[in-house]
Each structure stands twice: as structure tokens, then as C-alpha cells.
């Protein structure tokens, strides 16, 4: 199976372990990823909030490049997934936007016909490959590992295509089929604070604290995410949360591709495990010959 791959900015920087593990896992699952050459910003966050039309234009450039490549465009970042999808929908449905953006693309000798399907990697793994085909490739079952899969908002809302917007289950199903115990985690699609940590840290911290305590109270040893921003919010601010709320959280948060890689028997380096701010050593070492 072959897909065009759009990494996005986070996966080149703060979420490098995500990118590393995405590539390793896809290789192990025989998914061929062709990175879109000369891709640019997807237009997310501040751009699309402030200058929507410009955001559509720069986002469409990526879609136009992907359209030339022919295959479905896959991304692992839910923000890219949302913005690319939104652009796609608006380019198809809003004539005025299509007209202006097409003019802008034409300047760069590009055009976009709206034929690209934007997909999230989780969708590809669970629905295109399927649990039945993944299971024979599993070298290390995750029996006994208690995890809280955390989806955040953008993977299923507002332009999600493959899971329930309010109560997504894809990661739950994936990891329970690999033997992990998925704990009750009712806040799995609730806000991680997003960019609030930079603009309104007080509310941001309280949202993070809610998520951490819900996961921990329900017995999770590990949080598994599919989003770079969620991951950093959940992991990087545990100290601040502890200070503010007099708690003692120390719960690692990793990407779903990293945990899937563990199950596929990939070595730590190929999954960039060990680069966490909250070490996952205690939780994951049992799968690497260590004791529990």
C-alpha cells in the first residue's frame, strides 16, 4: 500500500519521536510513504484563525502537490489533518474561495481540482490494513499494560471521517486487540488546553490536570496520544500542574505509533523511545527484557 505523506512542522521539531516512529512502524507494516516534496505549513492554528483565506491558499498548495502524486494524502498530526480537510471541503464547496485560491496557485504554476483524500495515519492503520492483518506481525503482546488512549479534539472533530466525534474508539480497539488493558477514560476526547498554555495558562493547567487525574485515577500507567500538541501539553506541564494543584503526577505520554512499534518488536531507537520528558522506562522496559 502506498500513500503520500505530509509530516507537518511539529513532526520535524518538538514531535520528532512521532515522525521517527511513524516511519519505522509504516515500514514494518509494509506501508510505503512518499513524502510530499517541498511541502509547506498546513495553515493551522494562528494562521487559519486570523487570515483564513491565506491559510486556505497555503494549505491548497500542499493539496495541489499531493494531487500530482495521485495517492491518498496521509498525515499523523490532527491539526494538519483538520486544516487540510477543511481546505479540501471549502475548495470543493465554496466557489468564491476556490476562485481566489486558484488564482494564487496559478501564480506558482499549480492548480488543485479537489480530488485528494486527506487521511489520518490511525485511520490507515486500523481501517486500511486492519487489526486482522496487524496481529500476525505482532512480536510482543502488550498484555498487562494499562493505557489511557487520548484522542484530543481534532482527530474526530469537526472534520473527522473515521470515528465517533464524541466517543472515538479506534485506538481503544487497536490496543486492546494487542493485549493492552484500556482503562475507562471518559475524558478521552476532551480539550488538552491546546494553545491556552501560552495565552491563558491558568485555564490550560486546569484542563491538563483534569485529564491527568482522570487517567491516573482509572489506573492508567501510560497515556497514548495521536497528536503532537496533546502530547506536549500532557507531558511537559506535569511539574507545573503538580506545583499548582499539589499533586504528584508522573505519568508518561507517548505517541500511538511508538506503542504500536513496541508491539511490533521494533528497537527503542527506531521508535525514539527515551526522548520523553516524563520517562516511559518504568512502563515500557518490561517489553525490552527488563523486569516490571
Amino acid at each position: 500500500m502506498r500513500y503520500s505523506y505530509y509530516p507537518g512542522c511539529s513532526l520535524e521539531a518538538t514531535a520528532k519521536p512521532y515522525d521517527v516512529s511513524v516511519r519505522s512502524v509504516c515500514q514494518a507494516l509494509d506501508l510505503e510513504l512518499d513524502e510530499v516534496k517541498d511541502w509547506n505549513c498546513c495553515g493551522a492554528t494562528s494562521y487559519i484563525s486570523i487570515r483564513e483565506l491565506t491559510a486556505f491558499a497555503i494549505s491548497s498548495r500542499n493539496l495541489a502537490l499531493a494531487e500530482k502524486m495521485g495517492n491518498d494524502l496521509v498525515t499523523a498530526c490532527p491539526a494538519c489533518y483538520t486544516v487540510l480537510n477543511k481546505t479540501n471541503i471549502y475548495m470543493r464547496e465554496k466557489e468564491d474561495i476556490r476562485k481566489t485560491v486558484s488564482e494564487a496557485l496559478a501564480v506558482a504554476n499549480l492548480k488543485y481540482d479537489g480530488t485528494v483524500k486527506v487521511r489520518h495515519l490511525l485511520d490507515i492503520i486500523v481501517n486500511d490494513i486492519g487489526l486482522e492483518k496487524i496481529n500476525p506481525k505482532i512480536k510482543q503482546r502488550l498484555d498487562g499494560l494499562k493505557i489511557a488512549p487520548y484522542y484530543g479534539c481534532q482527530i474526530s472533530r469537526p472534520h473527522g471521517t473515521f470515528d465517533d466525534p464524541e466517543f472515538p474508539m479506534t485506538m481503544d480497539n487497536l490496543f486492546s486487540s494487542l493485549g493492552a488493558e484500556v482503562v475507562n477514560f471518559p475524558l478521552k476526547a476532551k480539550c488538552c488546553g491546546g494553545m491556552l498554555m501560552t495565552t491563558d495558562p491558568e485555564n490550560g493547567l486546569s484542563l491538563i490536570k483534569n485529564l491527568l487525574s482522570c487517567a491516573q485515577d482509572n489506573g492508567a500507567e501510560l497515556i497514548v496520544t495521536a497528536c503532537p500538541l496533546c502530547e506536549i501539553n500532557l507531558e511537559a506541564y506535569q511539574k507545573k500542574v503538580n506545583r499548582k494543584f499539589k499533586t504528584d503526577f508522573f505519568i508518561p505520554a507517548i505517541y500511538f505509533t511508538q506503542l504500536l512499534g513496541v508491539a511490533l518488536g521494533l528497537p527503542k531507537e527506531k521508535l525514539a523511545i527515551g526522548k520523553e520528558l516524563v520517562s516511559s522506562e518504568k512502563v515500557l522496559d518490561r517489553f525490552y527484557g527488563g523486569k516490571r
Partner: protein, 1145 residues
């Protein structure tokens, strides 16, 4: 047609201003001026309101005075006023179809923004109409008589109202209701808004009226399966599902219900209570009778060759009714002790519990029962009664299970059977083939003694062909013969060395052992074969002291025909099984067996039996050392008794040929069964043969024709997997706690060695009770027949079948009601996840005096709630569910708030988007609730969660919402949440749409003919709508619509005839090629095929004039009156060439 065009015509054109509706955008005088220039136009006029009386009078006057031959009115949509103007034309003496309407309002003035363009378009439309109307031909309305009977589908309040009104006018009404009682949703409600009168109190009198009305034939638990015909003359098929209780006899005393062991969720009580498998829908049900739920029939019983009541006795064991249980077993099974030990129990393979964890140990539960009976036989064994003694004698040849079963059943019917047995022991293979450690001989003797005690004569040491012949049996006064001599001849392996000393035949070996002959066994014994005989032989040899026993089988364990648990026991006893190995030759040393030359096999393609065929592996020959070889490859009947003069037909497998169900041979009065007919099979299959033969012999002796029907009705037909209703067991019983089946107590391996003691031991009562209670009771009726036992009125009849009746009716009222939105689809509301989140219908039953709490509003933990939130618009006004407003939720939510306030001290929150209290007395009710202190929060509930943020929220359900009046997000902690779920179409709405060829609107409900002016009619003449099947409605509106539909129906019937629109299609039989394409495409099933002439014909009464056949016919044969090709082309030409036309005048 073309000559019509050449004739000179006088056309009147009338252009309507429609107040400012048309004149506001179209320059009407300009259009009139233009029209008057068109060819054949005699007069063109403008009028402010053409539809008014003066407008119509103008047309009439012009027709009379100017001699107009055609009329065009250019105004609104023909849907509005075509009938008006047609009538005016007809009144003036012109045929009403010589008229055409040009729509310059909906299609012109209303949708055009430019006055000049609008005027131009209006001109074109007028010119088109003028060109067309010239080609119009006079058409005649047809009339057909109306059948005065009426069908009402659905027995909710709308259907009840319609049925009563129509019946009161003296017409016959058939009221068909899907559920066991009429009443619909209204029968489930507690109180009704805004008057708060009890729903049942106002509904039940009407239900009773329906039940008693001489003009209403009520068909509950019934469904319409087919509709044909047309307005005034419908033919309807109704399937009346069997209730298994005779309605006229049932006194509704409820004795049966008390005895029934099966509990199921009560749908009427919204699954908050349990009901029995025999139940009454609710206490005030009409008709007030019980019925049995047999929707999913137990597979254990259906699969059993003799339909042993497995689910029935299992349920009775669970209730400790052991006597009833063993009586039930004995009812069908003449050899229960034998079966409880040796049956291969296909019931367990079919058991639905097997899909969940492990099947019920059905066979061993029977063993528990027979052992229980044998503890105190004098008290517990009930000797069957023989009611009618008869003189006829029946000879039964062979005392195996088939012969015994046949003799037993015949004896119970009063006949005098005599069994002839070759050996001096009775039981056939039961004695000589099944080893003692599986079936102790003394138990077999017990069964046979009981048979003798019943009066069955058994003559041993009497061999057919030797001591007597079939021929002289008749002379001895036997009226019929049943031959069941079994299959006792062991087949050879057909390899060299088989004749050597030390090589035995398996069947023979077992027979010798069972007859008490001392058999010497070797040290290393090889048994060839993989069936039950091979396994029995190996285990017997092991008990006789062989050092090493080795079963040699050519396929793998998966293909072994022996019973799985027997194979398991064999392996436990240390017996080796060598798979994928076939013997080639027996090797000798000094004339004695020293080993077997074998070859390795591998599995190839599947053979006809579906098992993979073994193929030899080249060069893999090897030797298995052994000093004794026993061949147990297969058995066949020994036909040496057969005298060729008998002329009995033998099959190519050396078995006797009979009819598979009646068991009759090719000789009159001679029947046969068991292994002799089937080839080597099982005990229970032999029993089935014997029982079938008994039925046939009874019919034969009563001079009735032999027929397989009574055999199938007795449950003795051939079974197939398709007979078992398919259900998703894992889904349906997902909440059932998993539990493994019981472990059967047995002798240890040490205790078994060197003796023939019975291996399996009796089942302790506690174990049996636990096992029996694992049964899913999936029937749900388990057919224990306790209801039959206790019913004094003798009303319960488990053999009542479904019935289909055909009705002739003139009109149909559809009142199939609604379904409620399932909030499981919106997981954010935590329905089914949190105990105290209820739907509105669940709250109705909670609050109802007859409900689960007797009308007290309680939480699942039995406490009263301190706070309750009612969330409006769940599944309504929601793009992710249904976009429309369900119209009743605001009001019933207010009613709920009132009930909670009345019955508890709880705080009540109403979370609403907009309050919609539009009906009579509704707004006043809203105001009253505000005064009662209900807290109204404007904002839709967003989510229910139990993730708390502070102490105050602990143990509560948190309702999250945006309070749009206060302007911020709130978290409201409450104890109970009621989801005001919306109304949506019934699940089978598509099926009903198809049956009655009606349409649905975008919301999925049935579509009325006109949203304002014809709200109860449909596009299909003679089919009317009432109640919420047309769209969400409260009770007053449903009743009004029911009455409205009734009025429509009565008016139609009282007129006696209906007119049929002549704009229909016609197929010229001379031109039709009979390809039938139009038949498949006609959406109204209006075309039928004339088999004689091989052409398609239009049934004019059914045709709606849609034109599909006209467009689809490959040879363009069908024409449609009023829409002929020439007429349409003329219309197009008129529109395109309007200017040329005008100039040319």
C-alpha cells in the same frame, strides 16, 4: 392527431394577475397583447383573480358566446387550481381535458428578479400552452365501484379512532396490529399533558370499544404481508402470527405465567421489568389473552432426531421439578437411560450457549434425571398408560434401538408388537456393540424389562430366514412387519494378511466380549480405524490387559468420526493414536501376526463428505510392531436373511431401500429402519427411524394413506441447519456472565484398568442445578409444557401455526405510529453507561403505577433523587440525528417535571433550546410549571459525565451545558437525568412504504398528498394516513387526524364509486414485443403481462400516469393520454418559437 392541428380552433387565453403575485413582476397587459397575436387565439383577457367566481364566469361566458374550442389559463401551479378551471370548462359544455394551464407564478414571477425577463418567460409559457392545447383530445373520467370494507393498519390511538369512526358508520373494519395488543405508545404513558389525566383511563374505554365492536375484526400480533389491487378494490394478505394460546378459550387467569420458568425483558415495560415466555402484553391488553414467545426456537430440540425436549427438561431441572422433567423426557424417548449414556448429542453441538462459552451439558443433565428416577423407581417411574387396546399384531425383526422404539410407540397406541431377536440377549448393538463401561448391561436390561412390562413380546434366539420367514409372518396373523436388523457385519480392510491368526474384526470382537466370551488379547495391539467402534475396541482391549494399544487412523484427529469426548477419554487411558497412517499389509512371523506394514498419508482435496481425502506419501513405508490387529473400519448390514423371493429393494451401499420418512419398503405392509436402512449410524437416529415407522404402521393399519406430513409434524423430519432461527448470540447475550460447563465426575484411570466398571459417575444435584441454570433459554419458550399442564381452560396449544388470511377492502388507513430515538447513538449522554440516565419512555414506566417501582420515582439504588435534569431535543433538531422538531417533547418534559415535583422533593432542571408550548392549554401549563419552581435553563445539554471536579459533584451525574441566557458554561450536578428523546419513523417504515406504494418525505415519515390541504390522503388513491406515521404528533392531533382519515374513507365509500383520472398510459397490443421491461420499472405495479397474447397491459385503475413505461419502452409503444409525444413536442416548439409564431399571424 395531425389533422387536429390543421383544423381551425378558437382558443381563449386568460392571464391572471393573482393580485400582485404575478402582476408585480410580469407585465400582464403585455402578455395578453402578445397572446392575442398567436394563431388560433380567439380571445385573450387579463383578470385580477382568475380563480374567483367572476374569473371562472368569464371563461364560461366566452365558451358559450364565442364558441371557444380550447382554453388556456395562465396563472398559478396546476396543483392549485387545475381542477377549478377544468370544472369551469366542463360546466360550460366543453370537455374538461381541452384545457391547459400555464404556470407563470411558481415557475415565473416568483422565481424571476427581472421584470422584462419575467414578462418574456410568461409569453413563452403562454405560447407553449397554446400550441399544446390545440392537440388536446377529449378524455373521459372512468368510474369503478368501491368495496365498503376498510383496512386500518396500526392499533395506536390514531388507528383506534379511525377504526371506531368508520365502524360506527356501519362499515366493516379490519384492524391489524403488529404487537399482541392494541393501544400503541399511548398505552405505555403515565399521565397526559396538559390536563394530567391518566393515559390509560382515557384510552382503555376506547380499546374496549374496539374489542367489542361488531363491525371491527381485530387482528393483533399480525402483519400485512402483501397488498395488490387499486382504489376501491384492494386485496390484502395478513399474516396472523400464532400466539399458541386459543383466544376464545383463554380466561386470562395467569396460572400459566406463574409456572413458566423463562424470564425475558418486558418490552412494554421498556425492559425495566421481566416477563415470562408465556405472557400478557399488559393487564388491560385488548384482546386480553396470553401468548407464547417462540420467536427463536431452541436449536437443541430442533436438531435432535427425535426432537427430545432438551430445553424443556433443562429448565425444569433448574426449577427442581425433576418429576416433570423425567416425565417430559419419557414422552418422546423410549430409551432415556441408554441415551443418557451413549447419545452423540447433536443438541450440544447446536446449543447457542456454545457461541458464548461452552454448550450446556444436555446429555448429562438427562443422565442426572434418569439416575434420580432410578433412586426410587417405584415412586418416580410412571408406567405409560395404554388407552385403546387394539388387536392388530406387528412383527418387529431385530431388538436394537430402532426395533425397540417402534415396538414401544406401537404398544402405546394399543397394538400388539412382537420382537424377534436372533441372539439370546436383547438390545442389538446396544448390547453387543457398546461396551459395559459405557452402558452397563443391567441398565439396558432395566429398560427392556419395562418394555416387556408394557406388554411387548420379545422372542430371542429366533432368526429370520432360519426360524421363520417374512412370508409366514403374515400367515401367523401379523398385520405389518418392521425390519431393523442393523449393521453387524464388519468390513474388511482389503489388504494382504487379513486371514492370519491374530487378526480380528472389531464388531465381532466387541460382540464376543459382550456375550461374556473370554478373549485373549495380545501385548501390543493395533486397532485400525477412527470411528466409535475403533475407539470402543481400543478401550476394551486396554481393559482386557494389553500392554500397548495403538489406534491407526489415516486422517487427523479433526476428521475422526468418533465422538470427541470418547477420543479424549481414550487418550487419557494411555491409548496411542497414530494419525495419517494407513495399513498396507499384515506381516507375519511363523504364521502369527508380527506387525503391520504402513504408509504415511497427507491430506489432499476434500471428498464428497467434505473431509479431506488422505493421499499416500511416497517412500514413507514403515512397520508398526504388533501381535494383534483389530480392524474396525466400518460395518454393513448382513443381508443373508433375505430371501430373493421377497423382492425387497437393496441400495448400492448394501442397505435396504425405504422412503426416507415413512420408512415403507417396496413391499406393502413391510417397513424397515435403523442401521439396516441408514448404514452404520447412531442410537438416536435409529430411535427416530423406529418412531417414524410406528407412525406409518399406525396409518397403514388404519387404512390411511402413507404420508410424511404427520412424521414431520411429530418432529421426526430430516433436520437441517436452516431450520434453526439465526441470531447473533454474542451480541444478544453480551451481558450474560460467562461460566464453563460442568465437569463430569468419573473414575480415575487407575480405577478403570482391568475392569468394565461404568466410567462416568452420577451427577450430584448441586452440579446439575448449576448446569441447568446456565441455559440461555433462548427459545425463549423452552417447551417444558408446564403451561399446558396448569391451564384449566385447556387454552394452551403449542402446535398452533401461523395463519395467512386474505382480505378485500376498498380503502386503507395507515396508522403505524412512530419509534423513539435511541440515545445509544449519542454516547455523550451516557445512556446505558450510567444507571440513572433514562429515556422518556423509561421515565413514563417508572412513574406509572403499574411500573417497576409501583409509580415511585426512585434511583437504581432505591433512593429518591434530590435533583433531576430533563434534557430536551435528544435526537431532535440535531443535524447529527433528526433535523426536525419532534413537537411533543417540550410538553411531556414539562409533565415529567410536574410528576417529579409532585412525587419527590427534588430540584428539577429543564434544559431547553426553545420552549414550544403551542397547543390549547399548553402555554398555561408551562406557566404553571414555572410557578411550581422548576428551574429552566436555556441551552441544550451537551454531555453527561461522572468525572467530578469538586466535592459537591461527587457521586452525582454532571450535566454540562451552555446557559445561553447567562452566557457561560455550566456544570449541573444531579442524581437523575431524563433524556427527552425525539420521535422518528418506525423501523419497518421502508417495508410499509413499499407494500402500499406510498411515499416518504425527507424526514422519513410518510408523505401526505398536500401538506396543508390534503394532510391525510396520500398520492396513492384509497390509502390514507393517520397519526404520527405522517410526522410527530401529540395525542389530540393524532385523534383529530384519525377522525379525519375516517371521514375521507367514509366519504369515498358512501359515494359508492371512484373516478379514475384518464391521463394513463396505453400499450398497443399489436405493437408490443412483450419484453416486460416496463413491468419491472413501473413504480405502481400497474402493468401486467397477458400470458395468452404475450403482451404487457396497463391496468388503468392502477396507473398514475407517471410516464416511466413510455420513456423506457425500447420500441416506443406506450402512449400516455394527455402527454402524447406530439403534444409535448408542440409545447416545446411553442416555447422556442413564440416570437416567430406571433409575427407569422
Amino acid at each position: 392527431m395531425s389533422d387536429l392541428k390543421n383544423n381551425t380552433h378558437k382558443i381563449g387565453v386568460y392571464v391572471c394577475d393573482c393580485g400582485s403575485n404575478i402582476a408585480g413582476m410580469v407585465d400582464v397587459p403585455e402578455v395578453v397583447k402578445f397572446a392575442s397575436t398567436l394563431p388560433n387565439v380567439a380571445i385573450a383577457r387579463e383578470h385580477k383573480y382568475m380563480c374567483s367566481d367572476p374569473g371562472q364566469d368569464t371563461i364560461k361566458k366566452d365558451i358559450k358566446e364565442l364558441g371557444l374550442t380550447r382554453v388556456v389559463v395562465s396563472s398559478c401551479s396546476p396543483l392549485m387550481h387545475e381542477p377549478t378551471f377544468r370544472n369551469a370548462v366542463q360546466d360550460a359544455g366543453l370537455n374538461q381535458y381541452l384545457f391547459q394551464m400555464a404556470n407563470i407564478r411558481e415557475q415565473c414571477s416568483w422565481v424571476t428578479e427581472d421584470r422584462i425577463k419575467a414578462t418574456e418567460k410568461a409569453k413563452k409559457l403562454v405560447a407553449a400552452a397554446v400550441e399544446r392545447v390545440i392537440l388536446h383530445e377529449p378524455l373521459k373520467l372512468k368510474e369503478v365501484a368501491v368495496n365498503p370494507n376498510v383496512l386500518v393498519v396500526g392499533g395506536g390511538i390514531a388507528g383506534i379512532e379511525a377504526a371506531l369512526q368508520i365502524a360506527n358508520s356501519g362499515k366493516k373494519v379490519y384492524l391489524v396490529e403488529k404487537s399482541p395488543s392494541i393501544g400503541g405508545h399511548m398505552a405505555q404513558l403515565d399521565k397526559t399533558f396538559p390536563t394530567l389525566d391518566c393515559s390509560a383511563c382515557i384510552l382503555t374505554p376506547k380499546m374496549v370499544q374496539v374489542g367489542r365492536h361488531p363491525n371491527i375484526e381485530l387482528m393483533s400480533y399480525s402483519e400485512v404481508t402483501d397488498v395488490s389491487g387499486f382504489v376501491g378494490n384492494f386485496k390484502v394478505k395478513v399474516k396472523k402470527k400464532s400466539k399458541f394460546v386459543e383466544q376464545e378459550k383463554c380466561k386470562a387467569c395467569g396460572d400459566c405465567e406463574k409456572e413458566c420458568p423463562v424470564e425475558r425483558d418486558d418490552e412494554y415495560e421498556m425492559k425495566m421489568k421481566k416477563r415470562k415466555a408465556i405472557y400478557r402484553y399488559f393487564p388491560q391488553a385488548v384482546p386480553n389473552t396470553f401468548l407464547i414467545d417462540k420467536t427463536e426456537r431452541p436449536p437443541c430440540k430442533i436438531t435432535c432426531p427425535i426432537e427430545q425436549d432438551a430445553s424443556g427438561y433443562t429448565a425444569l431441572i433448574a426449577q427442581k421439578k425433576y418429576q416433570q422433567a423425567i416425565d417430559l423426557v419419557r414422552k418422546k424417548n423410549p430409551l432415556p437411560i441408554v441415551c443418557s449414556r451413549v447419545c452423540y448429542h447433536p443438541c450440544e453441538t447446536a446449543c447457542r450457549r456454545g457461541d458464548l462459552d461452552e454448550p450446556i451439558s444436555i446429555c448429562h443433565l438427562k443422565r442426572f434425571l434418569v439416575d434420580w428416577e432410578m433412586e426410587k423407581p417405584e415412586e418416580r417411574y410412571k408406567k405409560p398408560e395404554i388407552k385403546n387396546e387394539r388387536e392388530e399384531k406387528v412383527a418387529i425383526i431385530g431388538s436394537g434401538p430402532a426395533g425397540l422404539a417402534c415396538a414401544y410407540d406401537l404398544r402405546l397406541l394399543g397394538y400388539q408388537p412382537t420382537i424377534f431377536e436372533e441372539l439370546d440377549v436383547v438390545g442389538g448393538m446396544l448390547h453387543t456393540g457398546i461396551p459395559e463401561y459405557r452402558l452397563p448391561k443391567k441398565l439396558l436390561k432395566k429398560e427392556i424389562d419395562r418394555m416387556k412390562d408394557l406388554g411387548i413380546k420379545i422372542k430371542t434366539n429366533t432368526k429370520i430366514g432360519k426360524n421363520f420367514t417374512l412370508g409366514n409372518l403374515k400367515k401367523q396373523g401379523f398385520d405389518a412387519v418392521f425390519i431393523a436388523t442393523g449393521a453387524h457385519k464388519g468390513l474388511k480392510m482389503k489388504i494382504p494378511g487379513e486371514e492370519l491368526a491374530g487378526v480380528f474384526d472389531g464388531v465381532e470382537f466387541l460382540r464376543e466380549v459382550s456375550l461374556g466370551k473370554k478373549m485373549e488379547v495380545g501385548k501390543r495391539v493395533a486397532v485400525i480405524g477412527g470411528g466409535n467402534t475403533a475407539v470402543d475396541v481400543a478401550r476394551t482391549v486396554w481393559r482386557l490387559g494389553a500392554d500397548e494399544v495403538n489406534i491407526v487412523y489415516r486422517r487427523t484427529i479433526k476428521e475422526m468420526p468418533a465422538a470427541a469426548h470418547e477420543i479424549e477419554e481414550t487418550q487419557k487411558e494411555g491409548i496411542k493414536i497414530t494419525y495419517l497412517t494407513a495399513p498396507l499389509e499384515i506381516i507375519q512371523k511363523n504364521g502369527k501376526v508380527s506387525g503391520i506394514k504402513c504408509i504415511k498419508m497427507k491430506l489432499g482435496e476434500p471428498d464428497s463428505s467434505g473431509r479431506r481425502r488422505p493421499v499416500p506419501v511416497e517412500g514413507s513405508e514403515h512397520e508398526i510392531k504388533s501381535d494383534m490387529v483389530i480392524a474396525a473400519v466400518s460395518q454393513a448390514p448382513d443381508l443373508s436373511f433375505m430371501d430373493p423371493s421377497l423382492q425387497l429393494k437393496v441400495s448400492k451401499w448394501e442397505t435396504l431401500e425405504t422412503d426416507p420418512l415413512t420408512m415403507v419398503t417396496n413391499q406393502e405392509g413391510v417397513f424397515a429402519g435403523g442401521d439396516l436402512v441408514t448404514g452404520p449410524a447412531t442410537v438416536v437416529e435409529a430411535l427416530a427411524c423406529g418412531k417414524r415407522a410406528a407412525i406409518s404402521i399406525d396409518r397403514y393399519l388404519n387404512n390411511l394413506p402413507l404420508d410424511s406430513k404427520p412424521i414431520i409434524e411429530a418432529g421426526l423430519g430430516r433436520k437441517s441447519k436452516d431450520d434453526i432461527p439465526k441470531i447473533d448470540v454474542k451480541e444478544k447475550y453480551k451481558d450474560k456472565p460467562r461460566k464453563p460447563r460442568m465437569q463430569i465426575p468419573g473414575l480415575s484411570i487407575k480405577e478403570r484398568a482391568g475392569n468394565f466398571k461404568e466410567v462416568e459417575l452420577s451427577i450430584p444435584e448441586k452440579l446439575a442445578l448449576e448446569e441447568a441454570s446456565r441455559c440461555l433459554q433462548c427459545g425463549p419458550c423452552v417447551e417444558c409444557f408446564e403451561c399446558v399442564r396448569v391451564c384449566e381452560a385447556k387454552a394452551v396449544n403449542h402446535s398452533l401455526a401461523d395463519q395467512t388470511v386474505e382480505l378485500d377492502v376498498g380503502a386503507v388507513v395507515i396508522a403505524t405510529g412512530f419509534d423513539t430515538y435511541d440515545p445509544v447513538l449519542a454516547p455523550q449522554y451516557g445512556y446505558k453507561k450510567y444507571d440513572n440516565v433514562l429515556t422518556s419512555m423509561e421515565f413514563e414506566r417508572l412513574s406509572h403505577a403499574g411500573g417497576v417501582t409501583g409509580g415511585r420515582i426512585l434511583l437504581k439504588n432505591g433512593k429518591e433523587p434530590e435533583s433531576v435534569a430533563i434534557l430536551h431535543c435528544i435526537g431532535s433538531r440535531d443535524e447529527n440525528a433528526n433535523e426536525y422538531c419532534s413537537r411533543v417533547c417540550c410538553m411531556y418534559s414539562l409533565k415529567f417535571a410536574h410528576l417529579v415535583k409532585e412525587k419527590t422533593p427534588a430540584k428539577v432542571y429543564e434544559l431547553y433550546i426553545d420552549m414550544r408550548s403551542f397547543g390549547k392549554g399548553y402555554e398555561e401549563f408551562y406557566k404553571r410549571l414555572m410557578h411550581e419552581g422548576v428551574l429552566f435553563v436555556r441551552g441544550k445539554g451537551a454531555e453527561i459525565t461522572d468525572v467530578v471536579e469538586n466535592e459537591e459533584e461527587k457521586g452525582k451525574l454532571i450535566v454540562k451545558c451552555e446557559d445561553t441566557l447567562l452566557g457561560f458554561v455550566r456544570r449541573i450536578p444531579v442524581d437523575m437525568v431524563i433524556l427527552s428523546t425525539g420521535l422518528q419513523p418506525q423501523k419497518d417504515v421502508a417495508e410499509v412504504t413499499r407494500l402500499f406504494t406510498i411515499q416518504r418525505s425527507r424526514d422519513g415519515f410518510f408523505l401526505e398528498k398536500h401538506p396543508k390541504l390534503a394532510p391525510v390522503a396520500t398520492a396513492t388513491d384509497g390509502v390514507f394516513l393517520a397519526g404520527a406515521c405522517q410526522g410527530p404528533k401529540d395525542i389530540p392531533d393524532s385523534v383529530a387526524q384519525g377522525a379525519g382519515a375516517a371521514a375521507n374513507v367514509i366519504a369515498m365509500i358512501d359515494k359508492g364509486v371512484v373516478s379514475i383520472e384518464p391521463i394513463v398510459s396505453y400499450i398497443d397490443p399489436e405493437k408490443c414485443a412483450g419484453c416486460k421491461l416496463c413491468l419491472t420499472l413501473c413504480p405502481y405495479n400497474a402493468i401486467e403481462f397477458n400470458q395468452e397474447k404475450k403482451v404487457s397491459q396497463v391496468q388503468e385503475a392502477l396507473c398514475k400516469g407517471c410516464g416511466t413505461c413510455v420513456a423506457s419502452c425500447p420500441s416506443g409503444v406506450p402512449i400516455q393520454y394527455g402527454f402524447r409525444d406530439e403534444q409535448i413536442l408542440a409545447e416545446i416548439e411553442g416555447a422556442l418559437e413564440s416570437e416567430t409564431l406571433a409575427v407569422n399571424k
